[in-house]
């Protein structure tokens, strides 16, 4: 079990920092079209913010914030968003992963493609964040059941 960090400075700074890290992760996801960033980077940063919570505020705090089952479902949901967006193409008579079928009134051509990229980046971010958080939760919990030597 990862316990709460002893230093009050570490705990306070982490509590103050985590919302900004998560905001930055969202910025990285949504600004991926124009600057370095995108779903993979944003998702990894989002997962890192939860790992930071567990390291500084203890495992109990992370368990209070997220449930492992919910994280697993979120990971699956991310992959599903990506796959369904891609599958819209064949359903509407276009190639797989062709985002131009997302054309709405006033949004077509390159704009529809940019919209498609944004949707799948969000899917990737949710999927990656869920997967990495789940792996961390499982690895950190692993020692408890097995008993320490």
């Amino acid at each position: 079990m990862i316990r709460e960090h002893d230093s009050v400075i570490v705990r306070t700074v982490v509590r103050a920092l985590v919302p900004f890290i998560q905001l930055f992760a969202l910025y990285v996801v949504f600004h991926g079209h124009y600057s370095p960033g995108g779903g993979f980077q944003g998702g990894v940063i989002l997962a890192a913010s939860y790992i930071l919570i567990a390291l500084a505020l203890g495992r109990a705090e992370l368990d209070r914030l997220v449930q492992e089952g919910a994280v697993l479902v979120l990971g699956a949901l991310g992959v599903l968003i990506f796959a369904l967006t891609g599958a819209l193409g064949p359903v509407l008579g276009a190639p797989l992963l062709d985002y131009e079928v997302l054309s709405l009134p006033g949004v077509h051509g390159p704009e529809a493609r940019a919209l498609g990229i944004l949707i799948i980046e969000i899917g990737v971010a949710i999927g990656v964040a869920g997967a990495l958080t789940l792996i961390f939760c499982r690895l950190a919990k692993a020692g408890e059941g097995g008993g320490a030597p």
Binding site: F40, G43, V44, A131, L132, I135, R138, A142, G146, P149
Partner: protein, 126 residues
């Protein structure tokens, strides 16, 4: 002599990548500790990603982010890094860390059962 130096200057990057890969390979083959093998595998993978990414480098090139002039066809591809290896290796890195998680999960399972990471000890207790 100067020819040899120019030849080395154009290729020393590749030689360092090979060296890094061999360090990882040695750790995987010669070390008996399973965690050291995973560390070696990590170095091996990153060396390959380094090599793959080096194919994207262009001398005097800049980041593959274009401005509005691209819409008018004013892009000189020779001055921008090749974006294709970047996109491929970006996903490879995240897959690397996910598979690292699986490797470590297997290690934890092995430790629970055999109480050791040493190959010899595990083989004895098998």
């Amino acid at each position: 002599m100067t020819e040899l130096l120019a030849y080395a200057a154009a290729r020393y990057n590749y030689w360092v990548y090979i060296l890094l890969m061999l360090i990882g390979f040695y750790a995987m083959v010669a070390h008996g500790n399973l965690l050291k093998k995973v560390i070696g595998m990590n170095i091996f993978q990153t060396a390959i990603i380094l090599f793959f990414l080096s194919t994207s480098a262009k001398r005097g090139g800049t980041l593959p982010i274009v401005g509005p002039e691209a819409l008018a066809g004013g892009v000189a591809p020779a001055q921008l890094m090749n974006p294709l290896p970047h996109a491929l290796m970006l996903t490879a890195i995240v897959v690397m860390v996910a598979t690292l998680g699986v490797a470590l999960a297997v290690l934890v399972k092995i430790y629970r059962r055999y109480r050791s990471f040493e190959e010899d000890v595990i083989l004895d207790r098998l």
